[in-house]
Amino acid sequence: MSQREEELLIDIAGSDDSKAVAAALELACDFYIPRQRYVEAERVLLEVIGKQVVKDGLIVELRLGELYLKIKELPRAKRFLERVLESKDEELRNAAKELVKALNNQ
């Protein structure tokens, strides 16, 4: 495990929720997913869903939706992406919309 990974794990377990969310996203997207450690990626993301605030815009659900697409768990992907359609963040909403559209066309 690299030092950065350790630091991120500490942040995830810490009491600062916003730091935890950012750390989980970085750990999942920059470390675990590129190395195909999908189970670990899912776990760190799931365990910060509840720590998001409004400004996070449901980005964790978006990343989970993308992860489930990658591992071909399509119904799960669709459910998580559909949650992001309620996001206050337009960019995230649009990203989710495109992915859901692509899923529906499959």
Binding site: A20, R43, E47, I49, G50, K51, E73, P75, R76, R79
Partner: protein, 593 residues
């Protein structure tokens, strides 16, 4: 799993205790009847006037029980069996009554925690005499827990009155439970508010539980959701999410909603609630047939250091595999054998609460594997393995489930293979577990002469009406039919009335009941003795007398009586009966004018 549920959750008996400010001398009854794991006697203030009398029992607790909280937390059942054995070894040797009362109170808690409610109650009654407030209260709590589980509301009420007399702490909590059991909603809510006045969140949580238990699910859901809207890292939020998911959303198959609330609370700081949430998510994913995800979430629970949680998670993993093989069109015998072997491994280390479900999986997977022909050997081997479990002797409910599964499957096998001696032995040793069941294989065996009279006599203890009805329809042993005819249930008596083998004396007894269906059944039998005919022509039911009038095997004296019957339908039957003479028909016609 739910959190803070009544006694134990459906799976592992996982019990959540909540914390609230309390006097050190009180028992934590905050979560139904769960008990605090803290057993340290030395922290409890003694109120005895002469403390020296308790030195012996204090030393006993210090040397055998105190400071073992971690052990209790990780494997409660093993700990409880161990401490129980130690207490029982010295129980009769206590130096004074007070010390024994304290041990009784402790044993009441041990037994109730292990689900042995009758025994827990008995020890509780003795422990309630303790002059030490902590142990007296512990005994009372065990009594209430036992009576709650045994559903003895009248005795519960009696003990509430006694508790009030002695000024029991947390009386409102027990009163609340009484009102829940007797379905008095407003009173239960009132006591809930009274008990939890210092903690509005837990008051709301338990109000939700009250509504839930009384089947008012909409209200329960509203309250749970109110708590779930709190900060997800808080325990109350996670507890509520687990309870809502387990008790309402999942049974209603609202899996997507359950998933949404459960994923939100995975960030909780409470490790037990986190594992609970993963366990529930596993079941949700299972319900959605997303077996890969279900497996991932169940694996989280299987790593728990708490034996019960790990065991339940392993069971979930096996159920997932079982379901996958069932749904897969091309599952091979080898795959089923692999599953069977995993089940066998789990049986060795299972929490006994999961043993019944594992045993069922064992049988179904073995049947589909290449070892199907060795099924009876496999069943008996694993049955013996389960008999080694420490809870075998006293966990009656789970033991009974296992016995039933064993008997049902083995009896079918033995019957198919005409292994009648083994079949007879199997039923003789296991019948006491079947007395509410309808076992087809047993009925088939009773049709055969190979089933002994001893077995037949034992079957008379079976209470299942469907079973008794069918048996009564073909049994030809007069002694057995005589005893069966003492039953009051009409379906059974009807079956006896229609049974060609039933003797006259039994039929006369049944006819004396004066029931239309019974009399009718007798009147349409192939052969009727003159005594029976005499009774039936005097029946208060016209339709019964008509049936006699329609018969062609009656003596003229009978037709003569019926030709002047008060009922038109009876006289008409005489007129239409080819066995009646013209004179009799004319007599019947006269009566009709």
């Amino acid at each position: 799993m739910a959190s803070s549920e009544e006694g134990s959750c459906p799976g592992c008996g996982h019990i959540q205790s909540e914390s609230f400010n309390q006097d050190e001398s009180t028992i934590d009854t905050s979560t139904n009847y769960s008990q605090s794991a803290s057993l340290n006697l030395s922290s409890r203030k003694s109120v005895a006037k002469d403390d020296s009398k308790l030195e012996w029992v204090k030393n006993f607790f210090r040397n055998n029980i105190d400071g073992r909280d971690d052990e209790f937390a990780s494997n409660p059942k093993s700990f409880l069996l161990d401490v129980e054995a130690k207490v029982l070894a010295v129980y009769e040797q206590t130096p004074n009554q007070q010390s024994q009362n304290i041990l009784s109170a402790f044993l009441s808690w041990v037994n109730v925690t292990m689900g042995r409610f009758e025994r827990g109650y008995e020890y509780g009654v003795k422990g309630a005499e303790s002059e030490e407030r902590y142990f007296r209260d512990q005994a009372f709590t065990s009594i209430f827990s036992a009576l709650d589980n045994l559903q003895k509301n009248d005795e519960f009420k009696f003990w509430l009155e006694r508790a009030e007399e002695v000024g029991l702490n947390d009386l409102a909590f027990h009163q609340m439970q009484y009102f829940i059991n007797t379905r008095q909603l407003e009173e239960a809510l009132q006591k809930c508010r009274e008990h939890y006045f210092h903690n509005p969140d837990w008051a709301t949580y338990h109000q939700a539980r009250i509504y839930n238990e009384l089947g008012i699910l909409d209200e329960a859901e509203l309250l749970y959701r109110k708590l779930i809207s709190r900060r997800p890292t808080e325990q109350i939020c996670a507890s509520s999410a687990n309870s809502l998911a387990w008790s309402i959303l999942m049974p209603e198959k609202r899996f997507t909603e359950a998933e949404a609330i459960l994923t939100r609370v995975l960030c909780t700081n409470d490790m037990r609630e986190k594992i609970n949430a993963y366990s529930n998510l596993a079941m949700v994913a299972f319900g959605l047939k997303e077996y890969e995800a279900a497996t991932r979430y169940a694996l989280v629970g299987s790593e728990s250091h708490e034996v019960a949680i790990a065991s339940e998670s392993r069971l979930t993993l096996l159920k997932i595999e079982n379901q996958r093989l069932l749904e897969q069109e091309s599952s091979t015998q080898l795959e089923w054998e692999a599953l069977m072997n995993k089940v066998i491994d789990c049986i060795r280390e299972t929490d006994f609460d999961d043993a019944g479900a594992l045993f069922e999986l064992l049988i179904s997977s073995a049947e589909k594997s290449s070892l199907g022909k060795e099924l009876s050997r496999i069943i008996e081997e694993q049955y013996s393995q389960l008999q080694e479990n420490a809870e075998w002797e006293f966990n009656e409910k789970n033991r009974s489930d296992i016995e039933k599964l064993r008997v049902e499957r083995l009896s079918e096998l033995f019957l198919d293979e005409r292994r009648y001696k083994e079949l007879e032995e199997l039923f003789l040793e296991s019948l006491k577990y079947l007395n509410t069941e309808n076992i087809p294989a047993l009925l088939e065996f009773l049709r055969l002469k190979e089933a002994s009279t001893s077995l037949r006599r034992l079957c008379l203890d079976i209470q299942n009406i469907e079973f008794l009805k069918e048996w009564a329809s073909f049994e030809d042993d007069n002694e057995i039919l005589e005893i069966l005819s003492n039953r009051s249930e009409e379906p059974i008596l009807l079956a006896i009335a229609e049974n060609p083998a039933t003797s006259d004396s039994i039929l006369l007894k049944i006819a004396s009941v004066e029931d239309l269906d019974l009399d009718y059944a007798i009147s349409t039998r192939f052969h009727l003795s003159s005594k029976l005919v005499d009774v039936l022509i005097g029946s208060q039911f016209e339709s019964v007398r008509r049936e006699i009038a329609k018969r062609i095997d009656m003596p003229n004296s009978v037709y003569e009586i019926l030709a002047t019957d008060s009922a038109l339908i009876v006289r008409e039957a005489i007129r239409e009966n080819t066995a009646c003479t013209l004179e009799l028909k004319a007599l019947a016609a006269l009566g009709s004018l």
